[in-house]
């Protein structure tokens, strides 16, 4: 399985798309849906196939004013790898 690297450019996999606005903002995929708020949404909305993993982590550090960069990197990585297994995110 491909590894998530600093230069990886995560993107939503085929058949995964956003619907709804505001608190109803939902990620739809073939057999389900995720209603996402806060960090989950902040991460996935940046998975546009252009930003690199490193850029996403840096942006989140700024947005959330995180003091522990290693932790946010590990959290984002775990989250994206989990969604990769579900075939929601490709990288």
């Amino acid at each position: 399985m491909p590894q998530l690297e600093e230069s990886s450019q995560p993107r939503l996999a085929a058949g995964c798309r956003w619907a709804g606005e505001g608190e109803n903002r939902t990620l739809l995929f073939p057999e389900g849906a995720l209603r996402l708020q806060d960090t989950g949404r902040a991460i996935l909305e940046r998975c546009d196939g252009l930003r690199t993993f490193q850029q996403i982590v840096e942006e989140l550090q700024i947005q959330y004013g995180v003091s522990d960069p290693a932790k946010i990197r590990a959290d984002v990585s775990t989250f994206l790898e989990r969604l990769h297994q579900k075939r929601v995110v490709d990288f």
Partner: protein
């Protein structure tokens, strides 16, 4: 407050070029002339989206036999639904697929009946395997989200590794390996389809191994055989909780099999709004929540996880739709499932038949016919 269903299953027709012996359609299918028209479906899709439904599963029968499928997809997409096409692939070609994708189709789920052509055709009751092998790469190449679905049972489980290999060769994002669910035609053909204990154990091993090997490339969703489980499945996520099915003639049901329960009247989307049917109609309220539950469900810690199991299975096996699902090891009716499994596992019939080997007589099982 009662939430809206997450998904609408639209059985747009019961017509189908296949005759699969495990088909989930009712034994009495909706006649072609009773089918809802394009406008009716458009209205249903709009109502569904408005009440908060996210997913539409275009199912059948074979949805591709509807000549207005493109208009249906367009209507559903315009309404804002996420559209799954559940298909045998028969009737699909590159141009039609491309038009459907342009109209907003989100996902294609293609079925396979087996890996070996003669066995697969024997199960489908017609020669379609070669067609499926031809269309699968076309679907993959189109870039649409792609799932391969394989229903497994005693007559194909011994080829599970080859089936996974075949599906893998088409590079879908997902595979669904679903043990047959014993309703509709599958219930009628249960004697021929129930897997042996050994097959079930082996299939769990094979699926787990494939999940590990294909992780990150192909996601495998497995539906386990509840006859062999300790606790029942959380059928449909609870009666009238998450999904609504509309049959070809417009009748709305809480699931594929609810027609087996006597005394329920299923309202029609021609006469009522989908929202009214979902919220107010007797059939959807009948087993919603926990009020109807008997013991041991009523005081069971698992009641909020599996909702007492499946009402239709309780009806089919115990004759009482309000009984605890007999698939549950705690159910008073569980002995009926145990006896069935013991009888089957001890019988010579437990060896899979094979038409090519000449040991499957003509009356081995009942093929699903065409609706009138």
């Amino acid at each position: 407050m009662l939430a809206a269903p997450l998904a609408l299953i639209a059985e747009v027709t019961h017509r189908c070029p296949l005759h699969c012996v495990y088909c989930s359609n009712p034994l009495e299918m909706a006649a072609a002339k009773s089918e809802l028209g394009t406008k009716d479906w458009r209205k249903v899709f709009q109502q569904a989206a408005k009440m908060g439904v996210l997913h539409l599963h275009l199912s059948g029968g074979e949805p591709l036999v509807r000549e207005d499928l493109l208009e249906l997809v367009d209507a559903a997409h315009t309404a804002g639904l996420y559209i799954n096409l559940i298909t045998s692939g028969v009737g699909l070609a590159e141009a039609r697929l491309s038009a459907l994708l342009k109209a907003g189709l989100d996902h294609v789920q293609l079925s396979f009946q087996g890996s070996d052509e003669s066995n697969a055709n024997w199960i489908a009751g017609t020669r379609v395997h070669a067609l499926k092998v031809k269309i699968a790469p076309v679907i993959q190449k189109s870039g649409v989200a792609f799932t391969i679905n394989m229903v497994v049972h005693r007559q194909n489980l011994d080829h599970l590794e080859e089936m996974i290999a075949l599906a893998e060769s088409f590079r879908p994002q997902r595979m669904e390996i679903a043990h047959a669910q014993y309703y509709g035609w599958a219930f009628k053909n249960r004697e021929a389809l129930l897997p042996t204990q050994k097959q079930v154990e082996e299939s769990l091993r094979v699926v787990a191994e494939a999940q590990k090997r294909l992780a990150g490339r192909i996601r495998i969703d497995a539906v386990v055989p509840d006859y062999y489980a300790r606790y029942p499945k959380a059928c449909m996520g609870g009666w009238g909780q998450r999904q609504v099915l509309v049959d070809p003639s417009g009748k709305a049901l809480p699931c594929h099999a609810a027609w087996v329960i006597p005394g329920l009247q299923f309202e029609n989307v021609r006469d009522h709004s989908l929202e009214w049917i979902w919220r107010e109609s007797d059939s959807f309220q009948k087993f919603r929540g926990e009020q109807w539950m008997p013991e041991p469900c009523r005081s069971c810690d698992r009641r909020s996880q599996d909702f007492g199991g499946c009402r239709c299975q309780a009806m089919l096996i115990t004759g009482d739709a309000t009984a605890t699902d007999p698939a549950c090891s705690l159910a008073p009716g569980h002995f009926q499932i145990e006896e069935q499994l013991q009888r089957m596992n001890a019988s010579a019939n437990s060896t899979p038949a094979n038409k090519a080997h000449g040991n499957a007589p003509e009356d081995f099982w009942t093929y699903r016919p065409q609706p009138r």
